[in-house]
């Protein structure tokens, strides 16, 4: 799918609440391979933000280096973007949102970017709960450097040039959980609806929202048997819930079917509605989440959906007790103390 494919519906021409049409959220044409999972994720980011009516100027698109990290170019031309260094996206994002917490940061990373070279930044950004959406487009390989194994590749996976992978994969959701993440989701690029709803919920989460999205690399790792292939994803995916993000104002209009749905309140008054599917799973319990991930690995299935949510940890700007106005908007007077203050202060060094 390229990023226009999801837009076939007529509704793309209909202005959203802030008068923008879907085209206002698009980026430049993708230069990724035809069929690359990253492209379908891009389409869903465009769709989610358009539907949420978020002004593109408020968004910053952040990335590291990799095919996945190229994708900010293919979305949101009217948003500021920063294609930074391999693995370092979380650090740059931290700085940007701390000095301007009115920005909505969407970070797009790859499994190499996040689970190898930038692993410590990933764990620490989650630990600090920096307000941002952190998307990992997980294909189990290094796409841009042409098909080496990444740290999330399956043990025993055989690739054309790389040979057989002897190591256990790193589970990004598990790592996020044990670092204290308050929003951990797993999805599959081949399930656009779920990706979109998770994105909407993630954008309304107040801290770091981690979205580990299996995103097949059709060029280097779409082999049968690879847990990062389309075929595997389609046949082994087990959604946890039917998940919908419900904006605040619609609250009353939504019909409730008692006993069937679990609603989790978001900080800003919106809700995430979990409709029970095959599993009887509570996404607010951390131990269950860890168990679920371990269990799905053992059973060889792709559990998708919101694995864990907890809004109790304050986001970093709150922890740091920042003033309400973004630091970048403070006046010179607020930034530079007076001459009298200086003269009085240096008395202590006499």
């Amino acid at each position: 799918m390229d990023n226009k494919a999801g837009d076939k519906q007529v509704k793309t021409k209909i202005p959203n609440e802030i008068g923008l049409i879907k085209a206002d959220y698009r980026g430049r044409p993708s230069t990724l391979c035809q069929g690359c999972g990253h492209n379908s994720i891009s389409s869903q980011i465009v769709a989610a933000l358009y539907e949420l009516s978020i002004p593109p100027e408020q968004i910053i698109k952040m990335s590291g280096i990799g095919c996945s990290s190229k994708s900010p170019t293919y979305i949101l031309s009217r948003s500021f973007g920063f294609n930074s260094l391999h693995g370092r996206m979380p650090t740059v994002t931290t700085g940007a949102v701390m000095v301007n917490h009115s920005l909505k940061a969407i970070g797009i990373s790859g499994d190499g970017d996040t689970a190898s070279i930038g692993f410590s930044h990933f764990k620490n950004v989650v630990r600090r709960n920096v307000p941002m959406v952190y998307i990992i487009e997980n294909n189990g390989v290094y796409g841009l450097t042409k098909g080496q194994f990444s740290a999330t590749a399956d043990k025993g996976l055989e690739l054309k040039d790389a040979g057989v992978n002897p190591f256990m994969p790193i589970d990004i959701c598990m790592e996020a959980l044990i670092s204290g993440a308050g929003f951990v989701a797993r999805s599959f690029a081949g399930d656009p609806h779920q990706v979109k709803e998770l994105l909407k919920a993630a954008i309304h989460f107040q801290g770091t929202a981690v979205l580990d999205i299996v995103s097949p690399c059709v060029t280097f790792d779409n082999r049968e048997g690879s847990s990062k292939s389309y075929r595997w994803g389609r046949s082994r995916k087990e959604p946890l819930h039917d998940i919908t993000w419900v904006p605040k104002r619609e609250e009353i209009q939504i019909e409730l079917e008692p006993g069937e749905a679990l609603d989790v309140d978001m900080h800003d008054g919106s809700q995430i509605r979990f409709r029970k599917l095959a599993h009887d799973y509570d996404p607010t319990d951390r131990m269950s989440a860890l168990k679920l991930l371990e269990d799905s690995r053992n059973r060889g299935v792709l559990i998708t959906g919101l694995v864990y949510i907890n809004e109790e940890t304050p986001p970093l700007d709150e922890t740091e007790n920042l003033v309400d106005l973004p630091l970048t908007q403070l006046s010179d007077d607020a930034l530079r103390p007076s001459k009298e203050t200086l003269d009085a202060f240096i008395e202590r060094y006499r």
Binding site: T73, F80, G81, P90, A96, L103, E320, L342, R350
Partner: protein, 615 residues
């Protein structure tokens, strides 16, 4: 009094005649972790308050406890405060190094020591004052937990009495130190008073060194460069700091951490107008400030060599993407461990080209405490004006030791936020192109993320972009961009602090130095002058060089370049700057981990000019 001291009595009469006033280097040798800092600070502050020019240098090992550590106080009536290679007074509190420490005393020097130490036979030219530390402590009986600290107060009392340091000023110094905690002051003063009394009653002064009140420090302040730098950044409107602990860079960030809450809190809400993050490593620290600088904040990190090495990739990115950030590199010896807590000017070349590709970084080099403060705020103005990373290169000696300073001048100009387009500005222009040279000075205009205008956004990436910041691998785009960056680098010269030049009538020889070696150079030049040598002195304060530097080199027959590294790094940069004058430039580079001494500089110049330093 032991036998040694008694023997010394013989010299007493002529000693009294030839007393040496306000001119000595005193070394306090202790074991690391023995809590001597309060005592040492009390001594140096008291001298400073008595109007005598002083400096205090901590020569400490990379260890928390157990290794020998030295605090050196230099008092000098002529205002020379560089490190001396020899000392006149030793307070030998470390039994392990006692014999060795004695070797550095000058003839006629003085040694205070706990009376249980054995005095070696080797130095019968030295005055020894044994001090019954244990006995005094026993009699005064301070709280058990404080005994270690109080031992140090014994030498404060005895030395003050014997040299003539006013006990009232010791008390004042302790009051400053304990910030009005009277009980602590009293406890310490009890020991000081008792020890001074003991000395008055039991020791007979036979050495020549005395302290007399003077008025040379009136109006001055005394502090370390890292604190001064931190204060400078606060008055420069810093709003974001990310750092990773490393000596000697840490204390700059820590000074920010302790002073920002007082100086930069929003009065109404009590909330912070700044954010400070201890990052997971230096890669993260610089990554964060790059993000913050891009978003429009005044952002800074402080580090030292090993951290700077990790910052190489981001430094290059910030250079190419033109993001204003400030990086303080408080230089130390490198790499790895061995001499990590020793001073150096060894990061000059590394910083100058930090980043892969064609980078030319901008460096500000403070040479004293006022400049640490000044460059603290000015670096932000320059960074935002030039849209470039600015490296402030201090070093361990300047950053962590105590220097006298004039009180700081408040910034004499409003903050220069550089070329930033707001939504209103965008409304008025046809097109915004992030990397277009509109004004012909190589500096483009930028917009800040969040600017509410459809024309505002641009996409930032490293090397390959055209004027409008679109992805481009076209050769002509790359070349054009680099050409503009070269022009911007030329423009940068206008914004650099000019060198400080001290000329001597009729001099044909020049000397160039920079940073913390300044006091050693000044003292050396005064000694060389007494030998009849006329030398002009230029102290560099920034790279790229301003035109004055070229001129200075051209004007002289030969120019010595004094610096504290081994390869003569600035010497190399200067040769690149004026290739046709390269043979005139003579490198005097020396680095052994200790701050530069006047003796070394004098000797090095004399060796080449002919002559010998008498020190």
């Amino acid at each position: 009094m032991n036998i040694k001291a008694a023997e010394n009595e013989v010299q007493a009469t002529d000693a009294a005649q030839k007393k040496i006033v306000n001119d000595f280097s005193m070394v306090i040798a202790t074991v690391n972790g023995s809590g001597s800092q309060t005592a040492n600070l009390a001594l140096i502050r008291a001298l400073f308050r008595m109007g005598i020019p002083v400096s205090g240098k901590n020569l400490f090992p990379s260890n928390i406890k157990g290794m020998p550590t030295y605090f050196t106080v230099r008092a000098n009536k002529d205002g020379f405060t560089a490190r001396r290679e020899k000392m006149e007074i030793l307070i030998g509190m470390n039994p392990e190094t006692f014999d060795e420490d004695l070797k550095d005393l000058v003839e006629g020097g003085v040694c205070f020591y706990p009376d249980q130490f054995e005095v070696p036979e080797t130095r019968d030219d030295v005055v020894f004052y044994p001090v019954p530390v244990k006995q005094i402590i026993k009699e005064q009986n301070p709280p058990r937990t404080l005994v270690n600290y109080m031992r140090n107060m014994v030498y404060v009392g005895v030395v003050s009495e014997m040299l003539g340091i006013e006990i009232g000023e010791i008390r004042e110094a302790l009051e400053t130190h304990f910030k009005g905690r009277e009980k602590s002051v009293e406890l310490n003063m009890q020991i000081v008073d008792a020890s001074a009394l003991w000395a008055r009653e039991n020791l007979f002064k036979v050495d020549k060194y005395v302290v007399e009140r003077d008025n040379q420090t009136e109006g001055m302040i005394m502090l370390d460069g890292n604190t001064a730098g931190a204060l400078g950044t606060i008055f420069g409107g810093i709003s974001f700091i990310a750092w990773y602990p490393i000596t000697p860079g840490s204390s700059l960030a820590e000074a920010l951490q302790s002073h920002l809450p007082r100086l930069r809190k929003d009065e109404e809400t009590g909330k912070q107008t700044y954010a400070i993050i201890q990052a997971e490593d230096e890669l993260a620290a610089i990554g964060m400030i790059v993000g913050a600088g891009w978003a429009g904040a005044r952002a800074m990190t402080s580090t030292s060599g090993p951290g700077l090495a990790l910052m190489a990739e981001f430094s290059g990115l910030a250079y190419y993407t033109e993001i204003p950030i400030v990086i303080w590199d408080v230089q130390r010896m490198g790499p790895s461990t061995g001499l990590p807590t020793r001073t150096s000017q060894g990061d000059i070349l590394f910083t100058r080209f930090l980043g892969h590709g064609d980078t030319q970084q901008i460096m500000l080099i403070p040479g004293n405490i006022e400049e640490c403060f000044e460059f603290g705020w000015r670096s932000f103005d320059i960074a935002e004006r030039l849209q470039a990373p600015i490296f402030v290169l201090s070093d361990l000696d300047l950053g962590m030791n105590l220097w006298m300073s004039k009180p700081f001048d408040y910034p004499d100009q409003p903050m220069d936020r550089g070329k930033v387009l707001t939504a209103e500005d965008l409304e008025k222009i046809e097109e915004f192109a992030r990397y277009r040279d509109v004004d012909g000075d190589g500096i483009p205009y930028r917009t800040l993320p969040g600017t509410d205008h459809p024309k505002a956004a641009y996409f930032l990436r490293g090397s390959g972009h055209d004027e409008k910041a679109f992805y481009s691998e076209r050769p002509e785009d790359y070349v054009a961009n680099l050409k503009r960056l070269a022009l911007k680098y030329e423009t940068a010269r206008e914004y650099m602090p000019k060198p400080v030049i001290e000329e001597t009538e009729g001099a044909t020889v020049g000397l160039i130095a920079y940073g913390s070696v300044d006091p050693a150079v000044k003292e050396a030049l005064s000694r060389l002058a007494t030998e009849g040598m006329k030398i002009d002195y230029l102290r560099l304060r920034a790279v790229p060089f301003t035109n004055d530097v070229q001129e200075f080199i051209r004007k002289h027959d030969r120019v010595y370049v004094v610096e504290m590294n081994t390869n003569g790094q600035m010497h190399m940069l200067l040769r690149l700057e004026v290739p046709d004058q390269a043979t005139k430039l003579i490198s005097l580079a020396h680095n052994d981990g200790l701050p530069m001494s006047a003796h070394w500089v004098t000797q090095a110049v004399l060796e080449l000019e002919g002559g010998n330093d008498g020190q």
